[in-house]
């Protein structure tokens, strides 16, 4: 008798239409179904009228693909009923809009006629989806301790956001490689051009020699001191040439300290000789 009473009590608990609450023990799960599901994407101005423009989908079929832009609203309405066509409100009724990396979970509200309704402005969810336009799946997740769960992929939607996609930098990501941009060498004239000008410079020297042959020169004043002066001048010029080739300043100065007194000494002798000739 006591056992029968207990059995009746359990049966009574299980038959309460609203099947929320923590079940204390396992009982067979009730079959439920989603009925009268309809959905649409609609502009703000026409959003208040729920009477037309919806696509109806029957469980477990799939709706035709849908595009939602971020100035539109997404609206959806459905009922959840058991096999006796009694409206149910399970613990979990979520609409999940997700791509491989982004996810948005929404909880529909229940209206006075026990219909679940979802009505949201895509722009308001842009932040949660990081403004990532692209293909998403809309699915309905229904679960409760006492019913068989439903996971129904209702439709593929294409979401279009106006804003720039938000990217959160990954701390562990390899940073991009940086290659230093070296200063570009300045553009230089062609070697041919510099050769032509070098030739012009050398030609001037040759012109001087040619003109001398026309004027006529003679070497009547050769003395030992003048030749030695010329030799020391040649040495000084040669030291300067070595400086150009790569000697540093200090070596050059050291060599010059040796060469300069000779030039000074013989130069003075040579000038004295010249002055003597002038006097005569």
């Amino acid at each position: 008798m006591k056992r029968l009473f207990h059995f009746l009590l359990v049966l009574g608990l299980a038959s309460i239409p609203s099947c929320t609450g923590q079940a204390s023990q396992k009982s067979p799960l009730k079959e439920i179904t989603v009925a009268e599901l309809k959905l649409r994407a609609i502009d703000e101005v026409n959003a208040a009228d729920w009477s037309s423009g919806f696509e109806s989908v029957t469980y477990p079929n799939k709706a035709s693909p849908l595009t939602i832009t971020d100035d539109q609203r997404f609206q959806m309405s459905f009922a959840i009923r058991d096999s006796d066509r009694v409206d149910q409100q399970p613990h979990q009724v979520f609409v999940r809009i997700a791509s491989a990396t982004k996810e948005l979970i929404l909880v529909p509200f229940v209206d006075s006629l026990k219909f679940f309704k979802l009505d949201f402005d895509l722009k308001s969810k842009a932040g949660q989806l990081d403004n990532a336009s692209g293909r998403y799946e809309v699915s309905l997740i229904v679960g409760d301790a006492k019913v068989k769960p439903i996971l129904w992929t209702i439709a593929n939607v294409h979401l279009k956001f106006n804003g720039e996609p938000i990217r959160i930098p990954d701390y562990y990501e390899q940073k991009p490689e940086i290659v230093h941009m070296f200063r570009e060498p300045e553009k230089r004239p062609h070697v041919f051009v510099s050769n032509v000008f070098s030739l012009a410079v050398v030609l001037l020297f040759v012109v001087m020699l040619l003109l001398w042959t026309r004027v006529g020169i003679s070497f009547g004043n050769v003395t030992a001191s003048s030749l030695l002066f010329q030799a020391s001048l040649a040495v000084i010029l040669y030291i300067e040439y070595l400086f150009y080739l790569g000697n540093d300043m200090f070596t050059t100065l050291r060599y010059l300290t040796w060469a300069a007194p000779f030039a000074l000494f013989f130069g003075r002798r040579m000038l004295a000789h010249l002055a003597k000739i002038e006097e005569q």
């Binding site: 409100q89 996971l151 020297f205 009547g220």
Partner: protein, 428 residues
């Protein structure tokens, strides 16, 4: 620089924990029995566990300014306040000083644990909420409310340093959901929730979006602080229990396991959080210098990591990034493994801008210690003899200089030695 090296080496030596002193705080000492397999595993690995009741009035982490423990296990879901001198400040100070924390709660999460989680960059759902998954619950252990949820390795982060290299069988979880701040780079979602799972109160149907729902939710999260201290926060204490470690998993979905993967998972996670895996150290930092602009610079260093047996073995990353920084990085390149002893190195051309530079390594890899090395070097400008010479385009200038020199010689020779012919004078 040598001093810096020595200091950082000794820091690493301190941080690379061989099993050590561990304080285990529990709500009830019965956890020693219900979670004995997990504790035995730690003791076998050499950890010295000190069990204390969470409200013990003699609790303290520090004595004479020194920390008494290296690691801390907080199996204290319901504790509202710890006894003795332990509070959230003491715990964060412990972490700031390199201590590692393993914490687990369940649906009855106390205030102090929520605050600790918040300090570490996680948020625990409201007290009393539970993680549900009506699509993946375990048919054996679940009591009919679908809170003993099963998850598989696809939901576990794929970082071998954290979860081991073994393939994980489906695992069980029951507790509360967490969320991680995705903008906090130090926080990692170790186990994410499934798309159909959510954390909510059991008493009534969910009418507003739960804090933790879908794949953004976390079941277990971790923090690796900038000082390489590690924190692991689990929404489920049962995950570590003997019951779940030994469980046979069979879900209403398609997950199934003769023995749950919980044992492999919690053992790997414990080894990670107590710094047995993913621990790095460096030595032998070598580079030349001072350099002159556009020289070739070379830098090399040796990096090692701890292996399963607690020995230092060569690090296995294929490359480590190196920056050459003067306020901003001028060069960022990859050091490749040069030798099998874990030496990484690279040679690159120094920029044509002189100044004081730093070689800088800031190696980050999820699950591993951060490796930060810096060494200063100066880059000189060119000396006056180092510029380019004998430029073909400047040939006219060279020739004009030489012809001037030759001209000076020849002209002076002629000027000095020239003698006007005498005949001319006579004519005049």
């Amino acid at each position: 620089m040598k001093l810096l090296l020595a200091i950082s080496l000794s820091l690493f030596a301190l941080a690379s924990a061989v099993p050590g002193e561990t304080l285990v705080l529990v709500d009830s000492l019965s956890f020693r029995d219900t979670h004995s397999q997990f504790f035995n595993f730690l003791e076998e690995r050499g950890y010295k566990l000190t069990f204390k009741q969470a409200d013990d009035s003699t609790l303290t982490l520090k004595k004479y300014g020194e920390f008494l423990y290296k690691h801390l296990i907080l199996f204290t879901p319901t504790t509202e306040e710890f006894g003795g001198t332990i509070n959230v400040q003491a715990l964060t100070e412990f972490i700031d000083n390199g201590g590692n924390v393993l914490a687990a709660v369940n649906s009855r999460v106390g205030n102090v644990m929520k605050e600790l989680a918040a300090e570490c960059g996680f948020e625990v759902d409201s007290e009393g909420n539970q993680m549900f998954d009506h699509h993946n619950y375990d048919v054996y252990l679940d009591k009919g409310d679908h809170t003993v949820i099963a998850f598989d390795s696809s939901q576990v982060i794929d970082v071998p340093a954290m979860i081991g290299t073994k393939k994980l069988e489906p695992m069980l979880f029951s507790g509360i959901g967490l969320i991680t701040d995705r903008k906090n780079p130090l926080v990692t979602t170790v186990i994410r929730s499934s798309a159909t799972a959510y954390s909510a109160p059991a008493s009534k149907a969910v009418t507003s979006t739960p804090l933790v729902a879908g794949e953004k939710g976390a079941l277990v999260a971790s923090l690796q602080a900038r000082n390489n201290a590690r924190v692991l926060f689990s929404g489920s204490l049962s995950m570590f229990s003997n019951e779940y470690l030994d469980a046979v998993v069979k879900t209403n979905g398609d997950l199934m396991a003769v023995k749950s993967g919980n044992k492999d998972l919690v053992e790997s996670l414990a080894r990670w959080v107590f710094k047995e895996t993913g621990v790095l150290r460096y030595s032998d930092v070598k580079h030349g210098g001072p350099y002159t602009v556009m020289d070739n610079a070379s830098f090399s260093m040796k990096v090692e990591m701890l292996d399963n047996a607690g020995k230092w073995i060569p690090y296995d990353a294929p490359s480590i990034q190196l920056e050459f920084v003067r306020i901003d990085p001028f060069v960022r390149t990859e050091m490749k493994r040069e030798a099998n002893d874990g030496t990484y190195g690279v040679t690159f051309k120094v920029p044509d801008v002189y100044g004081v530079y730093r070689f800088k390594v800031d190696h980050r890899r999820r699950g591993y210690d951060n490796l930060v090395v810096a060494s200063q070097v100066s880059v000189h400008p060119l000396q006056h003899t180092m510029y380019e010479r004998f430029i073909p385009a400047a040939k006219p200038y060279y020739w004009s200089a030489f012809s001037m020199m030759l001209g000076l010689f020849v002209f002076s020779f002629v000027f000095i030695h020239h003698k006007e012919p005498a005949s001319k004078h006579k004519k005049e």
